[in-house]
Symmetry: C2
Subunit: 336 residues, 2 copies
């Protein structure tokens, strides 16, 4: 059976494997440093739809369909779809699940959704609740911008410490059959909601860094390992500033994040793409994991990796009512 | 190990039990037919807070704390909190998890959240990912009204086919230790998103009834059982109209829902409480299950029960953009 290690970490006995992954990204994302890993991108970020919200759905459909195609599967071959997004009521996921007719477990963890979905999917497969589970999430810059901040037409000036919501969706299909793949989900840590009192919703990196720190600290303590034991440690969307804060917090607390540490958000865009601190959004860690990180594991370039997707759990209402930003981060460990 | 039965149903081998439950409800709910089952209610539905959103959080905290108290547990004795709510970004759950410092898996299934949480919690416990998991959800009439429809100050006239969002939260603590309780979670069915094209967001019963029908049909077919095999079949919040539609659909499709069928929403209020079709909201099935249904199972008045919480998965944005209402229902089977 599976077992709990320490306070927040779990080790799976029957380790699910990754059967296939796919990312479908926006044009700006495709022009960034991960260009050669993103095999599919949109021509028009409205995807021929009348609204950005309807367009976001198309990214989800494309990513899910691509991951099915790569594994030569039909939707009815998937037992459960676990996923969510950052639009109110996770509508992109709901409408995608409707069109694919796969039983749905919708989750909300803001930009931590990919790791939350992988944790739920892996646990279900570890005990034979389903044979194949698809984990799906994404985001769209223009839909997120008008829901959380201002409509694009408003033309507001961005703060230098702000981030840019990634446009794209990532899908990862897990299988309980060890023969289906060579990358396994072996351990995970479920995060606690961490709130250091940040009030500025433009400063997501500073708000989320403590959540990433807390779950990493718990994981290293639970497993008696250190950052050096991993070939890659990737946080979700802290951006440059948030990643620097995390490095600093880690260093002051006795574990040093070295050159094996990256942040998906910080790495998604080039400096000349004017996104300031880098990318954010549920799609950010999903598309980087479902392409770059998975490819590196699959090719054997790295033997293990930790993915720590981070999410800010406020709403515009709680922000307007003066509440600080509660954040969460879940950690998933992969082995090739 | 657990096993899949048919297309959508799963049977747990190590069946988790219910360790304790608690409901904390609004005054109106406490004055309804379940009066003697609701042991704790608020005096003021603003709970001394400045906003309805902040008040909703207090209901969550009260329900969770009561369920901990009844089991003589501290928050650190709970491995994982699985829950969600119907406010944007499930903020009531997020802030409650922050204050209790229990690792959180946030879910979004609208008013189906209670059964979704029970499915995730039960599966995790069935394979030793955690020993005790709390499932928590709720809703607040005034917070939901202004987020989904109109602010109360607007004083709009309600349609006769509309429902009234329940004010209250329900918490159910599951345990992997069979000695901890006499009510077990034995089977569940994960719902597919069902959309029969209803566009009117005031008519939730009509939108959600097909989702309840589809999952019931799948469950009866998968398990080769009929409604007569169960002492109680309870849908979440279809209301009177939705429940009538479900009865009708079931009858026309070969299974008859008899006097063992009830709808939590239809049963929560008396006719003179002017809620038209009855209650709705994530709190509706949560408070009825965590009091009335659990008590009946625990006392042995019924030997088994099916809970089918139903959720409408649209957002105000998708509704304004002309999309129809996608709905979902998850089914959980309990045995005493």
């Amino acid at each position: 059976m599976n077992k709990k290690i320490g306070n927040q970490t779990y080790e799976l006995e029957n380790k699910p494997v990754i059967l296939s992954t796919a990312s479908f990204v926006g044009k700006k994302e495709a022009c960034g440093p991960f260009n050669k890993y993103f095999k599919h991108c949109c021509v028009d970020d409205k995807m021929g739809e009348k609204s950005f919200e309807k367009a976001e759905r198309k990214f989800f459909e494309k990513a899910l369909q691509l991951s099915l195609d790569r594994a030569d599967l039909r939707p009815c071959d998937i037992d459960i779809l676990v996923g969510g997004d950052i639009l109110n009521q996770i509508v992109s996921t709901n409408y995608t699940a409707r069109d694919f007719q796969i039983p749905l477990l919708g989750v909300y963890g803001a930009c931590s959704t990919m790791t939350e979905s992988l944790i739920i999917g892996s646990t279900f497969l570890s005990c034979d609740v389903g044979n194949r589970i698809a984990c799906l999430t994404g985001s769209h810059f223009s839909a997120a911008e008008r829901q959380y901040r201002n409509p694009l037409e408003f033309g507001n000036q961005r703060q230098t410490y702000s981030q840019w919501t990634a446009t794209g969706a990532g899908s990862t299909i897990l299988s309980s059959n060890p023969k289906d793949g060579c990358v396994r989900v072996s351990r995970f840590a479920i995060g606690k909601v961490t709130d250091y009192g940040v009030l500025d919703i433009a400063n997501m990196g500073a708000a989320m860094a403590p959540a990433a720190f807390e779950v990493l600290k718990a994981f290293f303590s639970d497993t008696k390992t250190s950052p050096d034991d991993y070939d890659l440690i990737a946080t979700g969307d802290l951006g440059k500033l948030g990643a620097d804060i995390l490095r600093d917090m880690a260093y002051k607390n006795g574990f040093k994040l070295g050159s094996n540490y990256m942040d998906c958000g910080h790495s998604l865009f080039n400096a000349d793409q004017k996104t300031f601190q880098g990318a954010s959004g549920a799609g950010c860690s999903a598309i980087v994991f479902s392409s770059y990180i998975y490819e590196k594991l699959k090719r054997g370039e790295i033997k293990n990796a930790l993915l720590i997707a981070t999410g800010a759990l406020m709403s515009t209402t709680t922000n307007q009512q003066g509440d600080s930003i509660p954040c969460i981060a879940h950690l998933v460990m992969f082995e090739a």
